[in-house]
């Protein structure tokens, strides 16, 4: 069956075709019995569809109204049936003889017309017989010339048969393809359904992602807070470092103070020891404001030097304390520590009795150079007496 008609038949039965489509199907139905059978089957189904609707009894008024109309119609039919028929009236006139002249005239007219018609038919038959004779002559002359045509006709028929076979094969393939397409369309429907489900899943995932984005935003906020806290901690660290530095300085100051206290205590030990005596040392013209004492027992090899009025030195320079022996010359006896107030102290421990030395002095020397003192380089000098 034609595929297009196959598509149209259900809608023909359902009453869903345009007039043009309906005309096309009507023409096809006149020629194809299988289409008529298909339509009959479809129509049976379609007529059942009305049963699918919930049945609802109409009100009694509908039936009463209908039956009244029907009764009136029956009465009208009976009235018409009761009237004499036209033919009966005509036969009555005929029987009475009042129409005889008119009938005679009518019969004569019919006879004349029949004679004319017979003459016309005879003439036409003669003409056709002549034409037939002419055709016979032509046909008799044909056999010799017709043979090649017949051969060609045979070839054409075989070709035609082959083409018909091919067309039949094509139709079968088309049918198979149609079935396959129907299956694919069904499958397509299922796939669409799956796609819809997957879309729902994707929508759910998008919702989750949206929720995750909110959580990420929260995390960013938390990160900002952490960063602020980190900066605060860093500032605190810097404060701690500063405090530690301050503490270290304090410790250093403390150590210096302790050292000073220790030195002062040591000096106090010498100052308060019995048999000690102060031996003066004063500034030369180079440093006239400086003065001090070496407090020691001349019979001991130790003593404490205390100087005041020493100005601060440039970096790399120190105050060098010397003991002068009449045979050994200048002997290094230590570096004088000077505080901010210009007071210098030194515990002297020359391994020889202080009383054996002749004099003492202080010079300014470079830290990294071996000193070579002279009388002129002394900024303070003092005599030692036993």
């Amino acid at each position: 069956m034609d595929e297009n008609i196959k598509d149209l038949l259900p809608f023909y039965a359902l009453g869903g075709l345009s007039e043009a489509d309906k005309e096309q199907v009507d023409q096809y139905l006149r020629l194809h019995s299988e289409a008529r059978q298909q339509l009959e089957a479809d129509t049976t189904i379609v007529s059942a569809l009305a049963y699918g609707v919930r049945p609802t009894p109409p009100s009694l008024r509908v039936k009463n109204g209908l039956m009244k109309r029907v009764e009136a119609d029956v009465a009208e039919r009976n009235r018409i049936m009761a009237q004499p028929a036209m033919l009966t009236r005509f036969l009555g006139y005929f029987r009475s003889g009042s129409m005889m002249p008119a009938l005679a005239g009518l019969s004569l007219l019919v006879a004349i017309l029949a004679g004319m018609w017979t003459f016309f038919l005879n003439t036409e038959v003669s003409r056709l017989q002549e034409q037939l004779a002419a055709v016979d002559k032509i046909t008799a002359a044909l056999p010799v010339d017709v043979t090649p045509i017949q051969l060609e006709l045979g070839i054409l028929r075989r070709e035609n048969d082959a083409l018909q076979q091919e067309a039949s094969d094509q139709q079968e393939k088309l049918l198979a393809l149609s079935t396959e397409i129907l299956a694919l369309q069904e499958e397509n429907g299922l796939l669409k359904s799956d796609l819809s489900t997957q879309n729902d899943t994707l929508a759910a995932i998008r919702d989750d992602l949206s929720q995750s984005a909110i959580e990420v935003t929260n995390l960013v906020d938390i990160e900002d807070q952490l960063l602020a806290q980190s900066e605060s901690i860093s500032a605190q660290d810097q404060t701690i470092v500063a405090l530690q530095q301050e503490l270290a300085q304090l410790r250093q100051t403390n150590a210096t103070l302790l050292k000073e206290v220790s030195a002062q205590r040591e000096i106090m030990v010498y100052v308060t020891s019995p048999n000690v005596q102060p031996m003066l040392i004063v500034g030369t013209t180079a440093l006239p404001t400086a003065k001090g004492q070496l407090i020691a027992n001349p019979n001991d090899a130790t003593g404490a030097l205390i100087i005041s009025g020493l100005p601060p030195l440039a970096p790399g320079l120190v105050y060098q304390f010397w003991l002068v022996h009449h045979t050994q010359g200048y002997i290094q006896a230590g570096i004088v520590d000077v505080d901010e107030e210009g007071v210098g102290t030194l515990i002297v421990n020359p391994n020889t009795q202080i009383g054996d030395f002749d004099a003492m002095g202080i010079s300014i020397e470079a830290v990294d150079k071996t000193p070579e003192p002279t009388r002129e380089s002394m900024i303070m000098l003092g005599a030692l007496s036993s």
């Binding site: 598509d7 359902l14 009453g15 007529s47 569809l49 049963y51 699918g52 919930r54 609802t56």
Partner: protein, 223 residues
Amino acid sequence: MTNAATFLRYTKLNEENLAMPAADSSRAQNVTWAKGLNQLDDIQIMAKIADGDASSLEVLYDRHSSAVMGLCLKMLNDRAAAEEIVQEAFWRVWRNADSFRKQRGSPVSWLFGIARNLCIDYWRRHKIRPQPTFADEGDGTEIVSSHNVDESVWTSIKHNQVRQAMADLPQAQRRVIELAYFWGMTRQEIAETIDVPLGTVHTRARLAMQKLREFLAGQGFEE
């Protein structure tokens, strides 16, 4: 006709239903005649209607008026208009019974066709086109006509069979059938309404018809 319907048709229930109080002898004769008519099938009834027998039309009306009314009510959604169409449909059966040809289908499908065309004419006359609805039609078990109990039961059985057949169709296929039959749409209008290619509408209609045919045949459905 199925065994169930045949059984119902010949039970005492049927006779009690028809044995209405006769006010006079002619009414009683009509009832007796109607008992006989009730045993005829629709095609035989149509032949009697074509001969001008009003009682046969009444029998046909009792058998099928509920189903025809249901169809009209679905298509028009207006009870008064639906009742008007029901009366007109049976009137046309009465006037044109002699043009009925059983080769073209059953009397009831002819009747449904008349009613459906009248509904479509009604839309055109009143320039309306109701919006399609696809509500479930109910199971029909509660439907019992006051005119004729066994016919109503038989109608309910058929209603349930067809309703189930329609319910078993995939929604997309069912919709094509409903739009064409109940809402009078052409295949092109259906394709536009549900926004699918015309070829898809054809496929759905063919598959739907095939499934309905198989289902109803399996149920022993008869008109």
